[in-house]
Symmetry: C2
Subunit: 338 residues, 2 copies
């Protein structure tokens, strides 16, 4: 026998399917005689009945699902964000459909199309670029969405992002307090809000702390990756820049710095102090353990999910943006300059 339907339950309980439906749905149970409800429920679970949310969705135009759009699952930044999202979604009776765009905008378009055809009620988006036509279009079409980690410029959508300015300031202040005066910055791609915000925050922090802001000490990385970080640092060194510390725009870029140091037979922090950003796992096991600005990624995801659920239940609420405060975790990759 196949999985029983609402009809089977109704027949077995001697009631009409509509009554069974009402009895089984907590929200409408009040409309039904308590006795009948009890009986229906008993029959239902003796038959092992389990409602078919697909059929329900067809009728109610609510799927109980939201789409989660991330660039790359293998980037250790995202699993904790996903966990945070799921931890909020699940108790609310929603489930998340996760897709990985691979930083490919065609793929992103296709995957979001497929999410929409699956009738997701909203989107949590972690792939935002500063200038992101697809997201603008979706927004115009009235798709409910929340940005996490990054956000587009000029788009009135809710978002949950780290307080990049504060994070970078913590990093720079730490280096200045150690005595560094020539500090380089390896910025993330300028196509992302985080890349731009951190680069700008770096310049501000440097000035605020009384150092001079030297453009020659900054490089933009082509991607948020180890390879791009390594390339940027090589470039900086090749240009003859003189610096004793580097603030990397994320941890992977910082790892790229480690690679370059190893190539050159140099060591952190003796030859160069290095600070990362994000607080990936296992950073404490590196050689040397990496000083980094840490974000509570779990919370980042949780807040985003909460905002999305809110947008779903109260569509008229204006967009809100949440900034999560970072903390600096000092480890052995930073020390006073020699």
């Amino acid at each position: 026998m196949q999985t029983p339907t609402l009809r089977d339950v109704a027949d077995a309980a001697g009631v009409h399917p509509a009554t069974a439906s009402r009895a089984l749905n907590p929200a409408t149970r009040g409309l039904v005689n308590a006795e009948t409800a009890k009986r229906v429920i008993k029959v239902a679970d003796s038959l092992g009945y389990r409602p078919n949310p697909i059929a329900r969705g067809l009728k109610t135009a609510k799927s109980g699902t939201v789409g989660i759009v991330i660039p790359d699952l293998t980037n250790p930044l995202f699993p904790p964000i996903l966990r945070g999202i799921e931890d909020v979604l699940e108790p609310a009776g929603y489930s998340g459909l996760i897709v990985s765009t691979d930083n490919d905008s065609d793929r992103e378009r296709t995957l979001i199309e497929s999410l929409r055809s699956r009738q997701v009620e909203g989107l949590v988006v972690a792939t935002a670029l500063l200038d992101h036509p697809l997201l603008e279009q979706l927004h115009r079409e009235g798709v409910r969405m929340v940005m996490v980690n990054r956000r587009p410029r000029d788009l009135d959508v809710s978002s949950v992002t780290p307080d990049d300015a504060l994070g970078i300031e913590l990093a720079v202040r730490h280096l200045v307090e150690l005595g560094h005066t020539r500090i380089a910055h390896l910025a993330g791609p300028s196509s992302t809000s985080t890349g731009v915000a951190r680069a700008k925050a770096f310049r501000n922090a440097v000035r605020d702390l009384g150092l001079t802001d030297e453009p020659a000490l900054a490089r933009e990385c082509a991607a948020w990756t180890e390879e791009a970080g390594a390339a940027a640092l090589r470039d900086l060194r090749a240009a003859g820049a003189d610096f004793t510390a580097v603030v990397a725009s994320n941890d992977l870029i910082a790892l790229g710095c480690y690679d370059v140091l190893a190539e050159c037979g140099l060591h952190a922090p003796d030859d160069l102090s290095v600070v990362g950003f994000n607080g990936m796992p296992f950073l404490d096991k590196l050689a040397p353990p990496l000083t980094t600005v840490t974000i509570a990624h779990h919370r980042l995801g949780g807040e985003a999910a909460r905002l999305l659920l809110e947008a779903i239940t109260e569509p008229d609420r204006p967009a809100r943006s949440v900034l999560l405060p970072p903390t600096l975790v000092v480890r052995a990759s930073t020390a006073a300059p020699r």
Copy 2:
């Protein structure tokens, strides 16, 4: 205007919805006049029509989705497996619904229930325990599934797992060739096939290579975690065991060994050679870089997805088990004993 339905397309093209349906579905397009089909298709995409897979699923009892059950997304072992799965699913027109059980069997039951109610056509399961009543029950109920990474004992289901025996043999042989004769093993939980298989393989390898198999040199870890690995190594040391190398049953357990060495002011490989298993990312950045047995996790996932699709399209095929060959990656955590 809302997203157009098949009816809208049919009306606009001046045909019956049934005809439009046939024209739009490549599989039934042959049943329709080529001209008509062409016209319908043109109208469809001028309207931006996109079929509703939910409604289709309701009728055809096929959802185009499979469930993916993993213990914990934040374990770096799983993202590459997921990638491998998605890379196979997607071109086949399927999508994966990912759930994270958190190693909690109640949660697992609930989540699998919810996947089934969402009409998944099959399951890729990465949470298998050797003795796993829930999976046995699902199997009896005819749920199509494929195990990945681990598998239950005595259950006739398809699986894709690493060749644990070969992997451990590579590790032990490497240590023996370096001159080690007293080698310890930190086994994974004996509730999992990988834990048991690797422990057994260790004993065999030791004997085959002419050493004596000493039970006093083995400990079972309570979990596949850093903490459990550390606890096991502490225990071994406290018991006064004498050994110069340790084969950890996975990389996280090996990281636990690093923690204990650091606590005691000791260093790998001088005081103890350490070998891991899995080939997690960033192992090359550790202090010291970890020698490990590497598995192509991406392929592990890909093969599993392929087997599942096969089981879906040809339900009568017998179960198959695929063993993926590991390779040993030698880094600086192993050296000749002092």
